[in-house]
């Protein structure tokens, strides 16, 4: 009996060892030789990833589109745009007509040349489908027309100052290739499905990377497009892969195994700290033009009283927020994040000042009957950190005698609540991002009456004066004048205090500092001002990767 | 004896259990029309093999099973209804002791609690009285007071059965069903219990319906014996007469099968009939006389005609075609 027991134990141990060694052999013996597959940038991001410019608009889609397709103009961190597919352009009719002259000889991935017809087709397709980034254009664009092979003209319904900025979201598709892959029985009439099915897993772009493989729910893999008109640095990555998993443990392990170069921005704080400790891994922190707003319902008691709103604004401990809850973030100065072009730097920060808060409260009509007017506050269940914030605000407000009732809500419910004034709570914690990188985008989508009833404006401001100022600013084609007008709107809003701008959000991503050159991380290190539109920080063409340095880390 | 008052009267009692076999519904005829009565102060022995329906009869009488057909009269009241509709007073007056005291006593409760329960339910004792009454009940089954706080597992099988009897006595019943109370016990323990039951019967003027498969035990306990076979009564007679002149071939087979310890007993065993065959399943009761598959005296008519009960002597009834 004891002999058998020993034999079984031995069998178990040997079995385990054989498994370990047998399977481990390959990993350890892997030749320390650089292969071309090693020249790769791998990024994690949330799934799904839509690589169709007519469909995608989220973070992951943007990263894919930026690298697969070209646009007429290309954004700079300072908010300006530079020539890209278009070498130059004319703005005519007081900003109602834009005429672009295309670069000649630019090749699509299949070898076709990029022409004005492709631009016309791309804009029409986007408008017709109505999904993705179409919302940037549907309101203002009246039409588009290819004047000749290399000239294309856009007609606007009314002057729209930041039109050039919004064009970084018009990704140019190869018309012929898309038409060749249309499915007949679609919902777009003679255009069938407008190539939607084919473009789900294929690209028709001219960008620096061409789609090599799409594995649904897993990853998208791109390969360098050697004939890219923009040319190539010798150390530019040969491959680029976007993985659809953001599980902290998976991300961290992959970083440790050097199977991932840049992480997503959705990791918990703890995980960034852990990854920062891995040799050769650094965490890049940069402001991305998003900010967190405490939207106050200006039509509902007690937040309908400006003094009451200001009292709230003066009682919150902003420094505690940016040091312990959202480290790396910056204090907000007014409604527009400081990194966005058109931001007015003269607007002061909100500061915690209890004396001032009490003074404001005394002027409010609710003073003395605060207990009858509790404030309802919703936070977004998908962003768990917001709970700490909500509790902090609750505690701060309690010092003034203001009672806050906190509710956790899924974003879907928050969206539904925002549809009616009665159901919109007194206060809502919401992250806000610009549609295009300019102050006007935030001002329009946040405070113009047209956005009332959507999650982007739960203030229900409905102020004619503000509406007129915003419309006027946006219609101004001249940048300097436009920015001045933006500044006035920001000042006016600061006085109305419809929102408590809690902080400008910092985006965090861990990356392989030792063998990857990433321009955005470099800019963050140097604390350079400005930011790029969503997705452009991951423009792989400008990155560099050094596989031999990677091998040294293994 | 026969002038004593009738306590329990069972008439035409039937109990069928439906079983589903595929699409068909068959009936297990556990009891198929039986008549008997129990008189005051009497012990009626209900004897039969497993599957004869003797326990089912007990459960129908006590109300654990609803009755398919027929009537059960207890002290002149019809109690063929479901247990839940019986008055509490009736439940108090009629008690049952089960075969296996190991499972009929709650192992989590002390003996005190076990006996306390019926007293509480029927509101028979309160406060300090309660303890006194329980001790008194234990004394009546010859268990010392020290047993009050023991658990069933701490005492022997015989003693557990004593506790079960004490619990049954708690409500001062006049009628008790004893469902094979000693069949899982050794003879030395059985002797003690049987003697105690007899003593209690005299003391409290109890009537017993005593269910067993042991005829030699019946000889010493019962005043009247009822033999059941496949849901029907085969023979019924006062004990003395029964053992002197058993009439039914099945009764004779039973008697001849009993292992005995004295020559005297040997004499009493019928010699002509030997045990053969097994009791058929109550789902497939053979046509005619249900004993025909094992009966050494079966005639052709036994395979067609179900016999009726006939009286062959004073208080002696037999259900067999030989006597028709």
């Amino acid at each position: 009996m004891p002999r058998l027991r020993k034999a079984v134990a031995l069998l178990l141990v040997v079995g385990l060892l054989v498994t370990l060694v047998g399977c481990g052999g390959k990993g350890q013996n892997a030749a320390k030789q650089v292969k071309s597959e090693d020249s790769i940038i791998r990024i994690t991001e949330d799934w799904p990833v839509f690589i169709d410019p007519g469909v995608g608009s989220k973070f992951s889609d943007s990263i894919a589109l930026v690298n697969t397709y070209d646009t007429l103009v290309f954004p700079k961190p300072d908010g300006s745009v530079v020539p890209h597919l278009a070498t130059k352009w004319d703005i005519l009719d007081n900003g109602l007509t834009y005429k672009f002259y295309l670069r000649q000889g630019v090749k699509f991935h299949n070898g076709d040349e990029v022409t004005a017809e492709d631009v016309e087709f791309s804009m029409n397709r986007l408008l017709k489908i109505g999904e993705g980034f179409a919302y940037l254009f549907t309101r203002d664009v009246a039409g588009v027309k290819a004047l000749d092979k290399y000239t294309v003209e856009f007609q606007l319904k009314k002057p729209f100052g930041p039109f050039l900025q919004s064009l970084v979201r018009l990704y140019i598709l190869n018309k012929d290739e898309v038409l060749a892959h249309i499915e007949k029985n679609g919902q777009y009439g003679e255009m069938g499905d407008y190539g939607k099915k084919w473009l789900l897993t294929h690209d028709a772009g001219s960008g620096p990377y061409k789609v090599k493989e799409v594995k649904m729910e897993e990853y998208v893999l791109w390969e360098k497009f050697n004939d890219y008109w923009g040319g190539w640095d010798p150390n530019a990555p040969k491959f680029f892969k976007l993985s659809g998993s953001v599980e902290p443990i998976t991300v961290r392990t992959a970083m440790g195994r050097r199977e991932l170069e840049i992480t997503d921005e959705l990791q918990p704080l703890e995980n960034y700290k852990t990854m920062d400790k891995i040799k050769g891994v650094d965490v890049a922190t940069f402001l991305n033009g998003h900010n967190l707003n405490l939207m106050l319902n200006t039509k509902k008691a007690p937040t309908d009283d400006v003094h009451f709103r200001r009292a709230l604004a003066y009682c919150i401990d902003y420094n505690a927020i940016i040091t312990s809850i959202y480290p790396g973030s910056a204090l907000s100065k007014g409604p527009v994040p400081a990194v966005l072009p058109g931001h007015d730097p003269t607007i002061p920060f909100f500061k915690r000042d209890l004396a001032k808060a009490k003074e404001e409260l005394k002027q409010s009509k609710y003073y003395g009957k605060l207990d009858q007017y509790p404030v309802s506050l919703s936070w977004c269940a998908e962003a768990p950190e917001e709970e700490k914030l909500a509790l902090l605000i609750q505690a701060n407000a309690a010092e003034l005698g203001i009672k806050i009732n906190i509710t956790k809500k899924p974003f879907g419910s928050m969206m539904a609540d925002a549809q009616k004034l009665e159901t919109t709570p007194n206060a809502s914690l919401v992250f806000v991002a610009p549609h295009y990188n300019e102050a006007g985008s935030i001002l329009m989508s946040r405070y113009h009456s047209s956005s009332c009833g959507t999650w982007e404006q739960m203030e229900w401001l409905q102020d004619k004066n503000i509406d007129n100022m915003i419309e006027d600013a946006l219609a101004t084609v001249d940048v300097k004048q436009r920015f001045e007008k933006y500044a006035q709107v920001q000042k006016a809003l600061y006085d109305l205090c419809p929102t408590i701008w809690l902080f400008d959000q910092a985006e965090k991503r861990a990356y392989q500092k030792d063998y990857v050159y990433w321009p955005t991380a470099e800019r963050a290190l140097k604390k350079e001002k400005g930011c790029l539109p969503m997705g452009y920080d991951q423009y792989v063409h400008d990155m560099k990767v050094y596989p031999e340095k990677r091998l040294a880390l293994l | 004896m026969s002038e004593n008052r009738i306590i329990l009267e069972v008439k035409g009692l039937k109990k069928y259990f439906p079983i589903h076999k595929g699409d068909k519904t068959l009936f297990v005829k556990a009891i198929d029309g039986i008549d008997f009565e129990v008189r005051e102060g009497e012990t009626v022995g209900l004897v039969g093999e497993s599957g004869s329906g003797k326990s089912t009869t007990a459960y129908c009488v006590i109300g654990m099973y609803s009755v398919t057909n027929g009537t059960i009269m207890f002290k002149g009241k019809d109690i063929s209804c479901a247990s839940s509709q019986r008055p509490l007073e009736l439940k108090r007056d009629m008690q049952i002791v089960f075969q296996d005291p190991g499972t009929s006593l709650n192992p989590q409760h002390t003996i005190y609690k076990i006996i306390e329960l019926p007293l509480k339910v029927h509101g028979l004792a309160k406060g300090r009285e309660m303890r006194e009454r329980i001790v008194q009940l234990l004394e009546s089954v010859e268990l010392p007071e020290s047993y009050l706080y023991k658990y069933p597992r701490m005492i022997g099988g015989g003693e557990r059965q004593m506790v079960a009897i004490a619990r049954a006595l708690a409500t001062n019943p006049s009628f008790m069903i004893l469902d094979e109370p000693t069949s899982s016990l050794d003879v030395s323990v059985q002797a003690k219990i049987i003697n105690m039951l007899i003593k209690l019967q005299k003391e409290f003027n109890l009537s017993y319906l005593f269910i067993t498969h042991d005829l030699s035990l019946m000889r010493n306990v019962a005043t009247r014996v009822v033999i059941m076979y496949l849901g029907k009564i085969a023979e019924m007679a006062p004990t003395e007469i029964f053992f002197q002149s058993p009439q039914h071939p099945y009764t004779q087979m039973l008697l001849s099968s009993i292992p005995v310890v004295t020559k005297e007993e040997e004499e009493l065993k019928p010699k002509k009939i030997k045990s053969q065959g097994e009791i058929p399943s109550p789902v497939n009761v053979p046509p005619g006389c249900s004993f025909n598959t094992r009966c050494p005296l079966a005639k052709p008519e036994c395979f067609e005609k179900d016999p009726v009960m006939v009286q062959v002597g004073p208080d002696h009834f037999v259900r067999c075609n030989l006597f028709a």
């Binding site: 009996m1 058998l4 027991r5 079984v8 134990a9 370990l20 399977c23 481990g24 990993g27 597959e37 799934w47 799904p48 839509f50 469909v55 608009s57 989220k58 489908i129 109505g130 999904e131 179409a134 919302y135 549907t138 919902q187 939607k196 099915k197 789900l200 594995k215 649904m216 729910e217 897993e218 990853y219 892969k241 993985s243 659809g244 998993s245 599980e247 443990i249 998976t250 392990t253 992959a254 440790g256 195994r257 199977e259 899924p410 879907g412 419910s413 969206m415 539904a416 549609h435 959507t454 999650w455 982007e456 | -």
Partner: protein
């Protein structure tokens, strides 16, 4: 047996029909506008409206059900809002991936569990038994995703011998689609290298997934073997001189496996649910992950499709296990005949 099987299948279809109504109603009644969720908060209302029409969301519920059922009968489960493809296509792609894990996991669960249980019972109260029992306790109390995390850390990070992401290593070409299961397809096409690679990707997720059920099976096998060891028939078989080894592996094992198999069947069915977090951690594009992402995105057709397929799988597993139990335990098998 044949008639019994047909009967069971007939009954199952009835059950699945009921299930289809239930899941359809549940999937449609959950709050939130699926079209809005699919197109994002900034999409213009007309585009959302168009999608609603396309999905028949503007029609009454029963019309929607009839249309959906009609599609179901024709093998068309509608279009997924997340992948923007036909749900049928998605299922064809993701189901084999998860089946691969679940099948391997079930094998580990059943055979591993029984093996450990036998060892434990054979050497009752030895250190080996103690070790197995401790592992079993851990296996039962820790959910599959905890094991997944532990395995990723140990075998992916500290001792990096197994891949921790995806179904194949980069650069390995997937085998041609036959069953959709990479390991099977690569073997069919004779591509052994791909098989090894695909198999290595399965090892950690499958074991992580199997741990709980395996521990359960081990415990049940152990206790039921110990229980049966005390039975008279084992004493009788010993008394008749049947070798102890044979008694152990044949006469003792078979009756002892009945409870194990019944419980294992539930555990195997539960694997599909537990697979979700495991697939997430191993970035494995499987059916469970697809199902959960469908629910999070209120991807109606995908939800209904996934539950429908799971329903069919559960019912099938149930039938299979019932027949295995009937084989092991003649009392059940014959009662059913």
């Amino acid at each position: 047996m044949g008639i019994n099987l047909l009967k069971r299948i007939g009954l199952s279809i009835f059950v699945l029909f009921g299930l289809s109504i239930l899941i359809f109603i549940i999937s449609r009644v959950v709050p939130g506008d699926p079209a809005r969720l699919a197109l994002g908060p900034r999409a213009p209302e007309w585009a959302v409206q168009k999608l609603r029409q396309e999905m028949h969301l503007d029609k009454p519920l029963y019309t929607q059900y009839v249309l959906w059922l009609d599609g179901l009968v024709h093998g068309d489960l509608g279009r997924s809002l997340v992948t923007r493809r036909s749900v049928t296509t998605d299922i064809k792609e993701f189901l084999p991936a998860t089946l691969e894990i679940v099948i391997l996991s079930a094998i580990v669960l059943v055979f591993g569990g029984i093996f450990l249980g036998i060892i434990s019972a054979k050497f009752t109260n030895s250190w080996l038994d103690g070790l197995i029992r401790v592992i079993s306790y851990l296996g039962i109390v820790s959910p599959a995703f905890v094991w997944a995390i532990i395995f990723v850390l140990i075998f992916g990070y500290n001792i990096p011998i197994f891949p921790t992401m995806g179904r194949l290593s980069p650069g390995v070409v997937p085998p041609p689609m036959i069953t959709g299961m990479y390991t099977v397809d690569s073997l069919i096409t004779g591509n052994f290298g791909t098989f090894v690679d695909a198999f290595k990707h399965l090892v950690l997720p499958a074991i992580a997934l199997a741990m709980g059920g395996m521990a359960q099976a081990a415990r049940i096998t152990r206790s039921s073997m110990l229980d049966n060891m005390g039975k008279d028939y084992i004493a009788a078989e010993k008394a008749y001189g049947i070798p102890e080894g044979l008694i152990f592996v044949k006469y003792l094992l078979k009756p002892s496996l009945i409870p194990t198999v019944s419980v294992a069947s539930l555990d195997i069915a539960a694997l599909f649910g537990n697979a979700f977090l495991v697939e997430l951690i191993f970035n494995y594009p499987g059916f469970s992950r697809y199902g959960i992402s469908a629910m999070l995105n209120k991807d109606l057709n995908a939800i209904a499709g996934v539950i429908m397929v799971l329903g069919v799988i559960f019912v099938t597993i149930n039938i299979i296990i019932d027949f295995i139990v009937a084989y092991l335990d003649p009392r059940i098998g014959l009662a059913g005949r």
